[in-house]
Amino acid sequence: MRIREMAGIVDAEIIQGAFEDAELAGGYTSDLLSDVMAHAKAGEALITIQAHKNTVAVASLIGAPAIVVCNGRPVPEDMVEAARDEGIAIVRTDLSQYEVSGRLWKALRG
């Protein structure tokens, strides 16, 4: 599953679209950035409500190609800019982290 396809599955709008539409290895769901640093694997989409610039720094460091912002949280402009610089996709959905994780799990493994 590629990033744009994933965005469709979780009813997300693409907020930062300057990225390579890479194949996703899966997802990691967490709002604690240290937990993401410790456990997320490269190639996984980061599913979170932490919509700020530091989320992009974490995604870049662990090699997450996409950030899924849940619950329709507002995405600040400096976050979008940072993600554009790093070529990381930001998509936003009104769904919760639970629903996003469930839909992606079903699509990838179900």
Binding site: L32, Q50, N54, A57
Partner: protein
């Protein structure tokens, strides 16, 4: 709105920080030469000469009621041509009674602004109960700033000496170092991204670069969240990569406690951003082949994390 007459955006943060963090009472002279409203101008002039000052606050039962400046004395001396007793008049008749004052808890930056705005040579300083607490002149501020700058440079020299000690032994193939600033979340993570890019550019295996990134990110964020600022150093040797995080305090009260997963002293605001989960130092230790931490309250914390290249 009047501001400090140095550019706030391009000046070194350390100077602005000094002006904003120091209070008027840190720079003022507390031992003020005063006179009462009934003191004659002649006596006021004698006080000025004796103490080499150019203004005398006039105080009535601890309350500031006015100020006699050297200009008022000169006027009275001139007036003797028509009034022989001009210098015998009481201070209350010659003083300026609408005095611009500063509060002792105001930041020093405001005092600088006042000197810029009012062109007076001195400002009486009042405490929270409105009583005269001191007096401040431009040279008081200059002297205090020089002392503070000197202290800061001593700290910088100590920091550099510390870094030189750290670089004894084998010479690294690559050495990078960047400073961090307290609570500057807009730049937090930049140092770790630079470290990771430097490693990837040099052909470091992704799994190793990832471990270095985890260690440096957690240490960098610790400095941003908890310290007064510090320096992050990356040193690449033939077989190891070292991340050193050195900060200037406040130090960790109980290092064993800080190493426990889940323990954190971060405030609610920091936690709401997804930090301060108490996983930082344990994460660093977990990804490191060697890990050491030294901390002293009031001095600072140094963490050294070593990751071996060979271990895939």
């Amino acid at each position: 709105m009047a501001t400090v007459p140095i550019p706030a955006t391009s000046s070194p943060g350390v100077v602005l920080e000094m002006l904003y963090s120091m209070r008027v009472k840190d720079a003022m002279t507390g031992d003020v030469v005063t006179a009462s409203p009934s003191t004659s101008l002649h006596e006021v002039q004698a006080l000025m000469r004796e103490h080499a000052i150019t203004g005398v606050p006039i105080v009535d039962e601890g309350r500031l009621v006015g100020i006699v400046a050297i200009g008022d004395i000169i006027e009275a001396l001139d007036a003797r041509a028509t009034d022989a007793r001009a210098m015998e008049r009481p201070a209350r008749e010659a003083m300026t009674s609408s005095v611009v004052t500063l509060d002792d808890e105001m930041p020093l930056s405001l005092a600088v602004t006042y000197f810029d705005r009012y062109k007076f040579g001195r400002f009486p300083v009042l405490d929270s109960s409105g009583r005269l607490a001191g007096i401040i002149t431009a040279s008081d501020i200059l002297r205090r700033l020089l002392i503070a700058l000197n202290e800061e440079i001593v700290r910088m020299e100590q920091r550099m000496a510390g870094r030189q000690r750290a670089t004894e032994g084998p010479v690294p193939a690559v050495e990078l170092s960047f400073g961090t600033a307290p609570l500057d979340f807009s730049r937090a993570g930049n140092v770790s991204q630079r470290f990771k890019k430097a490693l990837v550019e040099r052909g470091c295996p992704p799994a190793i670069a990832r471990r270095v990134a985890v260690a440096s990110y957690e240490l960098e964020l610790n400095q941003v969240i908890h310290s007064k600022g510090g320096v992050m150093i990356l040193r690449v040797f033939n077989d190891t990569i070292e991340v050193i995080a050195q900060d200037e305090g406040p130090g960790i009260a109980d290092v064993d406690q800080a190493m426990q997963e889940g323990f954190s002293t971060a405030n609610e605001w920091v936690r709401s951003l997804g930090f301060g989960a108490g996983m930082g130092l344990p994460n660093v230790k977990r990804v490191s082949d060697e890990f050491s931490i030294q901390s002293e309250l009031g001095k600072g914390t140094t963490v050294r994390a070593v990751i071996r290249w060979s271990k895939e």
